[in-house]
């Protein structure tokens, strides 16, 4: 355990971004306690000790660099290019956190300039960007936006001196080993292959026709709820797979099927096994799952 007296210094920089990760972070319930553990040299919204202009001079380093947004080497912050900023601070820092899908894989803003923009260490699934090959030093916290609790987990682990194990895409296994499907309240409908029929219903599964990527997406949204209370699937919105390197895909509210057969099946399951299960499960009409749960409204 490192001494609690020493506070790691932290700098939060932004690339091509909507600031969604910054605002998501502000929702962290233990934000004040977390900020107590760091010396925040620069953050775009929170109190900090340096101005952006001072930060852009690259005079000193920091222990932890948090980067939000896609990496565009030519973009400038206070007159210094991101290439220089990331080069300097990532070189000095012991840990680099890519906060959100843009910083992890390029995300939405790779789509706007695919030849120029990337994540810090990946462009989609391909190792690319200024920190490519630095899996482990760069912790990818993908998600659009990043879940505040995921950021809290990574930063607290760093503050406590605990190593963070990551997968091949640099994402912490503790957070991304699960599928977004885990803990979904609609799982029973998935098991028995009962479709939601139409949006705006709490009954039914969104995987068959409505584009839900829960069983295909590494994320713990239904284990650690958003804003402490909910998730997309809980309010009848399909998971759009925003933690994956191929986000944003196209036709997000529809499931791609070939002759009614889903083109993609849950991760790690063979299509043959999945279709066998489906055919059998669909054969049983489970009355309870065909009915509305609450009829009084």
């Amino acid at each position: 355990m490192p001494s609690r007296l020493y506070k790691p210094t932290l700098i939060w920089l932004q690339g091509v971004t909507c600031n969604g990760n910054t605002h998501s972070f502000l929702n962290l319930p233990y934000l004040p306690q977390l900020l107590e553990r760091f010396e925040v040299l620069y953050h775009p919204l929170l109190p900090c000790t340096q101005s952006l202009a001072e930060t852009a001079h690259c005079k000193r380093g920091c222990d932890v660099l948090v980067f939000e947004g896609a990496f565009d080497p030519e973009m400038e912050r206070a007159g210094t290019t991101l290439k220089q900023l990331v080069g300097h601070y990532a070189g000095e820092a012991g840990h680099v956190i890519a906060a959100g899908s843009c910083a992890s894989f390029g995300g939405i803003f790779k789509a706007s300039a695919p030849n120029r923009n990337s994540g810090l260490a990946f462009a989609g699934e391909q190792p690319d960007g200024p920190l490519r090959g630095r899996v482990g030093k760069v912790i990818n916290l993908s998600g659009c936006p990043v879940h505040p609790e995921w950021l809290g987990y990574a930063l607290m682990s760093i503050a406590d001196g605990r190593p963070v194990a990551v997968d091949q895409l640099g994402r912490p296994t503790a957070l991304y080993r699960h599928m977004a499907h885990d803990g979904c309240l609609r799982n029973e409908y998935f098991e028995w292959k009962v479709d939601v029929e139409q949006f705006g219903r709490k009954e039914g599964c969104l995987f068959y026709e409505h584009g839900c990527r829960g069983p295909l997406t590494h994320a713990s949204c239904n284990r650690t709820l958003w804003n402490g209370v909910s998730s997309k699937m809980r309010v009848g919105t399909p998971c759009f797979g925003c933690t994956e390197p191929d986000f944003p895909r196209r036709n997000l509210f529809e499931t791609k099927t070939n002759m009614s057969i889903p083109e993609e099946v849950p991760v790690g399951v063979s299509k043959r096994a999945y279709l066998t299960m489906t055919g059998i499960a669909k054969s049983f009409k489970i009355k309870r799952l065909e009915e509305r749960l609450i009829d009084d409204d």
Binding site: R77, V229, V235, F240
Partner: protein
């Protein structure tokens, strides 16, 4: 002489270029240096994909973008002869979550921006506590998420309604959380109970308040902000909701407002490439936002302020904080009257059948947000977004300044001018989407 100031701790950054004589600001130009190309990204995609992409225009008001998109798609449906039916329940839920996003925005602006920045101007005794803003905002977005799934970046509004199917359980949870948030607002922000605050009719009533709002009000006067930062004293409100009155106002005199009169032009900045655009209604610049909304809705207190202090920084800032109170009350009312027995969603005809143009207008935290789209068989052929900050924070020529420019000219020094600039609640990511 010309001085560049980099404005940070807003949504993104802006550069201000000041001409000064002595310390006094004689002219200012505004540049927004970052551009992301959101509109182009949507072309060729199915219109419903925009419900996922446009919230990513902005991390602080993405929900307003979601609503503008869904309204634009629904307008295209109507234009194509297939009007979309919305239940009262769907409309109330949409308004409720929009209101909650505005509430979180206003809390953050007050605590993370305005109070710390006012202290930098030398005003004492403000005791700014930025994390109060984060706490209150997180509470507001928690209520929002009960219905919309998450914040930021929900996509729960879809053509024909909303995806959620809440029960009274969520409604009761939401009401409990809202009561807590109102209690926080009463104790920390207002220093008085909400209902009493909402009966205020004159600025004098703030005098006894021992609270952040009381200190802010006195601080604004101490900094002379009741005599500074006037713009054109012309306002526009375009978004139609249960809490807005659509109007164009000269001083406080209302006239009809027609969105087809709204057009944009390139911003002018001689010293830097700016990706911003200016917005005009007809030939003129107008101010938008909470102050505009309060005047068009005939709010007694804000009109009293306006009578005394015109469209000064004082009035602009107080109107935004006061709007928080109005919106908390609105959220409470919407929750109380939430009719859960209706369907959340009425399926419209398939999107592939829609070849038409549509416009969606929403009152976002900072004013009217306009999305215009043209669909060809459900695919986006053309998309354009006009954001509230483009109305307020245009950059034009000296003979015809945009509202924020006009407000900054005459400031005692650059520090004061940048505070005036922030009084408009700057959002750079929206300005250059």
């Amino acid at each position: 002489m010309m001085t560049k100031a980099l404005i940070e701790h807003i949504e993104g950054e802006a550069s201000l270029y000041f001409d000064t004589r002595g310390d006094k600001v004689t002219w200012a130009e505004i540049a927004f240096p970052h551009f992301r190309g959101m509109e182009r990204m949507l072309e060729g995609r199915k219109a419903t994909d925009a419900l996922v992409l446009t919230p990513r225009v902005c991390g602080i008001c993405g929900h307003a973008h979601l609503m503008a998109t869904v309204r634009a798609i629904e307008a295209a449906y109507a234009e194509a002869g297939h009007p979309v039916e919305l239940t009262r329940k769907a409309q109330s839920l949409r308004e409720l979550t929009l209101v909650l996003e505005m509430i979180q925005n206003h809390f953050k602006w007050l605590y993370l921006v305005i109070l710390p920045e006012l202290e930098k101007l030398g005003v004492e005794g403000l005791a700014p506590a930025p994390l109060k803003g984060a706490f209150a905002a997180a509470q507001a977005t928690k209520i929002l998420a009960l219905f919309a799934g998450q914040w930021p970046h929900s996509s729960y509004m879809i053509p024909g309604g909303v995806t959620c199917d809440p029960t009274h359980l969520e409604r009761i949870q939401a009401a409990g959380l809202l009561d807590e948030l109102i209690a926080f607002f009463e104790k920390e922000t207002a220093g008085i109970d909400l209902d009493t605050l909402l009966t205020f009719a004159s600025c004098r009533e703030f005098n006894p308040l021992q609270s952040d709002l009381g200190r802010l009000e006195k601080g604004l006067i101490a900094a002379g902000m009741h005599k500074k930062g006037m713009a054109y004293d012309r306002f526009v409100v375009l978004g139609e909701h249960g809490f807005t009155v659509r109007a164009r106002l000269k001083h406080t005199r209302p006239m009809k407002a027609d969105a087809s009169q709204v057009a944009t032009e390139a911003a002018v900045c001689r010293d830097e490439t700016s990706y911003a655009r200016n917005v005009r209604y007809g030939k003129h610049f107008y101010e938008v936002g909470p102050l505009a909304r309060a005047i068009s809705a005939d709010n007694a207190l804000i009109k009293n302020m306006h009578r005394r202090y015109k469209d000064s920084v004082y009035t602009r800032v107080m109107a935004r904080v006061y709007e928080t109170a109005l919106l908390l009350q609105r959220a409470r009312k919407l929750l109380e009257h939430l009719e859960l027995s209706e369907p959340s969603y009425i399926p419209p005809v398939p999107l592939e059948r829609i070849t038409a143009a549509g416009e969606g207008i929403v009152e976002a935290p900072r004013g009217p947000l306009i999305h215009r789209m043209r669909l060809e068989r459900g695919i986006v052929a053309d998309y354009s977004i006009i954001t509230p900050t483009q109305w307020n924070l245009g950059s034009s020529v000296m003979s015809d300044p945009a509202p924020a420019q006009k407000a900054m000219v005459g400031a005692a020094d650059i520090a004061e001018a940048t505070f005036i600039f922030r009084s408009f609640d700057v959002c750079s990511v929206c300005t250059t989407h």
